[in-house]
Point group: C2
Chain length 418, copies 2
């Protein structure tokens, strides 16, 4: 079979599975999820063996220590997968719930009901535990799934998917509910994202290169989980003690994640008071600062921020700082350079607050809080498949509801159109 | 300027306009909409003159009578545009409305609020009144719009957009809120749909060829308004008198639209009773029938339906008929051959009803009613920009709400992440 035929065959099988999945009750799905978790537990030795094989090949291929670390499935990571799946059992099932309903003057009863999306493709890099997490969330929402992982994790991914699919099957999981693309050739990605006859959605989880390639090749709808160039704007009306705590938290609490702050904007009227205090705290944390001319005047000796810095997602202990004239300039900066992910204002003035909340075009806009709260767990969604930086279908943290679509059920008593 | 630069420049201007649009109040938007309607009224002579020029060129180019008819802007069609815009004034503005809100244990107040999508591109064919309708709906939801119409309607489209933009500007419509691609070269479509830096959504409105081309070229999210291969399934438990009225209505009341029935499925147990009665009624309407072997046995003399017929959107007085063994076979047929648009069951048996409503994977599924009700007006949405056959973001009739997205506003009192 050609690559095209192989992937198309997976698509066909996935659609068949999706029809069967849509018939399962919540109770049945939870029994199967529990079996999947037990399957990972029981198969831990096989998974570890497969992972050791990946690690060995990775070392031979010269993967970096960071890559090898992300690839490694330690005991606690395997336990984390098991707990993650069991956590999904406890979450409310959105499938079948009514979004709204109304009765038309002609008596037609219209109900808008949540249903599974159908067949979802997830393309991800290196961390094999993503496979288990994504599979549990897609299954709970009765979506069939085709996974395509990184070449370096192929044995680990196969072991995880086999453990889940086989243990699930014993409790009635439809065949091919969770499929893994077995070939590691790059061409498979193109085939997968162009499978518009069968595939309903592609979610790429990985770096900028992967997301850009998928977006440009895809004929299937894509929801991007893109980078987070997040800002905090400190207004002249801010409680500066609060601002200091928020800024330090947003930058330092976990700098390597997408909701960490990358650029701080500060109103000119408070910059002289605020920035030296901030520098003292960030120096203690080991954060490198890069500033515009206004910032450099107040904090002599720090490096100049270039135009590129404003677009940069450092994911590191680095912070760009700019002094702005007012909230409008802050908003314009964020809308131009940001990634529409998470942006915060610290301010007490209500007009300034309103302006910022209304005009910043981002998935999550914060008032007097750290950007670090953009997360399915912190939002109370229970779990997330990622954080969408797109505007259609899902924006911000994507939980179970965002893995569903809807259909209209229209019930009549013989109504015809005049 | 190269074509790429021209279109990118429109994109940049559209984003600037979208930021200004997002600041307008509902009241202000309604004043501007009213001015736009008056602008079309006042500019009717110019619009007619431009349309005459298009018609003349169309005749010279040998356009078909049907094409010329769709292109023509008669007095009543211009009046229709004016009324259409005034109708949008009266509709509820979804922008700013709260979808949901909750307070987290740490005190963060999370609100999910409807906001404009941003910059929308609509690519449409021949009927120039689409321009006015689309512009009114996008403006009411504070979206900036780039229109790309058919070559044959360029003068008409330009006159309509100029009338709306100019009359709106006098009441404060931001510059470039409604832009029209001025070049008729096909290359412009590619540039438009790949403008991912600026464009948030592309809606193609036209035939299968246009939609397929846009989907394959696009890097920007696309919502497809694809064909309607709609079914009615007559179960053995159906009230056959009701079934007859529904079937005749779904096929004949307006056969040229996407929610008209194209295929009828009938349970074997009632086929012998039902089909001859149906044939009598459809013969009287002049409908051509094509049947499977079972149907041909009952209705000798009708043509055989080929495999292609099951996939066909006739948009004409033609109906394909198939006898099925049960509701499961009907569902399987619909999910395989249908376009996931609108499908109906006529049945009294509750288990059969439930099975059909749950398992048919279509935007709108009807019980005991004609498929012809899939329409923004009939649904009570007030107006529609089209009927989505996609599953993401919008499914079925797309009204004003579906022209918005959402953002999360998270208000705290200094919360930081532990």
């Amino acid at each position: 079979m050609s690559m095209h035929e192989q992937i198309a065959e997976m698509g066909r099988k996935g659609v068949v599975a999706s029809r069967e999945l849509a018939k399962l009750s919540t109770k049945k799905k939870n029994i199967i999820l529990d079996a999947m978790a037990s399957g990972i537990e029981a198969g831990a030795e096989d998974i570890r063996a497969a992972n050791r094989s990946d690690l060995e090949k990775g070392r031979a291929a010269g993967l970096s220590a960071a890559m090898l670390d992300r690839l490694e499935l330690t005991d606690s990571r395997i336990e984390g997968m098991v707990l993650g799946i069991r956590n999904v059992v406890a979450l409310q099932d959105p499938v079948g719930s009514e979004i709204s309903s109304w009765i038309r003057p002609n008596g037609l009863n219209i109900r808008k009901i949540r249903v599974p999306i159908g067949l979802i493709g997830i393309i991800f890099e290196s961390r094999p535990n993503v496979a288990a997490e994504a599979a549990a969330l897609c299954f709970k929402t009765a979506n069939a799934l085709i996974l395509r992982g990184g070449k370096e994790a192929i044995d680990s991914n196969r072991a995880i998917v086999d453990a889940m699919q086989n243990a699930g099957a014993e409790q009635g999981l439809p065949e091919n509910s969770i499929q893994l693309v077995q070939t590691t050739e790059r061409e498979a990605v193109r085939e997968l994202v162009q499978l518009s006859e069968y595939m309903d959605l592609i979610i790429p989880r990985g770096g900028e290169g992967l997301i850009k390639a998928v977006t440009e090749l895809a004929h299937v709808p894509v929801i991007k989980h893109y980078k987070g160039v997040c800002h905090s704007y400190i207004d002249s009306s801010a409680d500066l003690d609060m601002a200091l705590e928020i800024a330090v938290n947003a930058k330092c609490q976990r700098p390597g994640v997408c909701n960490a702050m990358e650029t701080l904007l500060v109103h000119a009227d408070v910059a002289e008071e605020f920035l030296p205090k901030l520098k003292e705290r960030l120096d203690a944390e080991g954060v490198e600062l890069r500033g515009d001319a206004g910032t450099q005047t107040i904090l002599p000796g720090i490096a100049a921020a270039t135009e590129d810095d404003w677009y940069e997602e450092y994911l590191d202990m680095v912070l760009a700082i700019r002094v702005v004239a007012d909230v409008e300039e802050a908003v314009a900066h964020i809308n131009k350079y940001g990634s529409h992910h998470s942006d915060a204002i610290v301010a007490e003035d209500e007009n300034v607050q309103k302006c910022f909340l209304r005009e910043v075009d981002s998935a999550t806009v914060y008032l007097n809080a750290s950007t670090r709260f953009t997360d399915g767990g912190e939002f109370g969604l229970g779990a997330e498949i990622g954080i969408s930086t797109d505007k259609l279908h899902a924006r911000g943290p994507m939980g179970l509801e965002e893995l569903t679509t809807y259909k209209y059920l229209v019930e009549g008593q013989g109504q015809i159109r005049e």
